[in-house]
């Protein structure tokens, strides 16, 4: 067999691998665990965002009171 044909034959044989028993089950379990691990981080990020938004609103309210006080004094 010429080398090119042999390489092509070998490449076809190597296109798939043996799948260990239970591989798909392990992937699904790992994906589920990764999703659960991710959720608290998302909740923390959401809580921080809300806290920052609340802080910005308070600053805006304080500035509004200050500027209306300045307007009244003029």
């Amino acid at each position: 067999m010429n080398p090119e044909d042999r390489i092509d034959e070998w490449a076809r044989a190597r296109a798939d691998a043996h799948v260990p028993d239970g591989f798909a089950d392990r992937v699904v379990a790992a994906a589920s665990a990764a999703t659960e691990a991710r959720t608290p981080r998302l909740l923390r990020a959401a809580a921080l965002t809300l806290a920052a938004a609340g802080g910005l609103l308070r600053i805006a309210a304080a500035l509004a009171i200050f500027s209306s006080s300045c307007a009244v004094m003029r």
Binding site: M1, P3, E4, R6, I7, D8, E9, W10, A11, R12, A13, R14, A15, D16, A17, H18, V19, P20, F23, A24, R26, V27, V28, A30, A31, S32, A34, T35, R38
Partner: protein, 192 residues
């Protein structure tokens, strides 16, 4: 993977896109269907990219988990699901190679080649072993270019995008890899 016809490839791409959409919405059964469809070829890709690593199954598993976590980012208009999965696996393989030393694992496939019977089978088995070893000895970029195009059926354009290089670079890397593999077989024929 075999090279499917254009129509069959389009149908598969549409089916994968539908499964990916459902999986992105949290449908675990759809995700499992994708795993079962691509576990064998993805394990083969990881074996090609990391022939000297014993924990290839972990790398393939990590690639699937990463795909699950980032399914919302998969855009079927940009390419086939398997190509996207291979890109994830390729990035994982790069990270692993940077962090670890190779394990002293012989570059042999998990599935044993048929036991040599007649002389032709023995020659075939011997050639396959030499080619496995030669693939493992290639520089990583040549190995990836050759394996992803010649073994795993990705197009040059797809591999260029995965590797972040021009298509011409992929072609020349794959060509140099093939020359080296050819040379290995030529040396075998010259040996007494």
């Amino acid at each position: 993977m075999a090279h499917p016809t254009t129509t069959a490839a389009e149908a598969r791409r549409a089916a994968d896109a539908a499964l990916a959409r459902r999986a992105a919405g949290g449908d675990a059964a759809a995700f499992r269907a994708l795993i079962e469809r691509y576990q064998a070829p993805l394990l083969a890709v990881v074996r090609s990219l990391l022939p000297d690593l014993a924990t290839r199954e972990d790398v393939a598993q990590d690639a699937f988990v990463s795909a699950w976590l980032h399914l919302a980012e998969y855009d079927p208009a940009r390419g086939a699901f398997f190509t996207w999965l291979v890109r994830i696996a390729r990035n994982r393989a790069r990270n692993v190679r940077r962090k670890r030393r190779p394990d002293p694992v012989a570059a042999v496939p998990e599935r044993a080649d048929p036991a040599p019977g007649p002389a032709a089978d023995a020659a075939r088995a011997d050639a396959f072993r030499r080619l496995d070893a030669a693939l493992a000895d290639l520089p990583a970029d040549q190995r990836a270019a050759f394996a992803l195009t010649a073994i795993h059926g990705l197009s040059v354009a797809e591999v260029a995008e995965i590797e972040g290089v021009p298509p011409g670079t992929v072609k020349s890397r794959a060509a140099r890899a093939r020359e080296k593999l050819r040379a290995v077989l030529a040396r075998e024929e010259m040996e007494p």
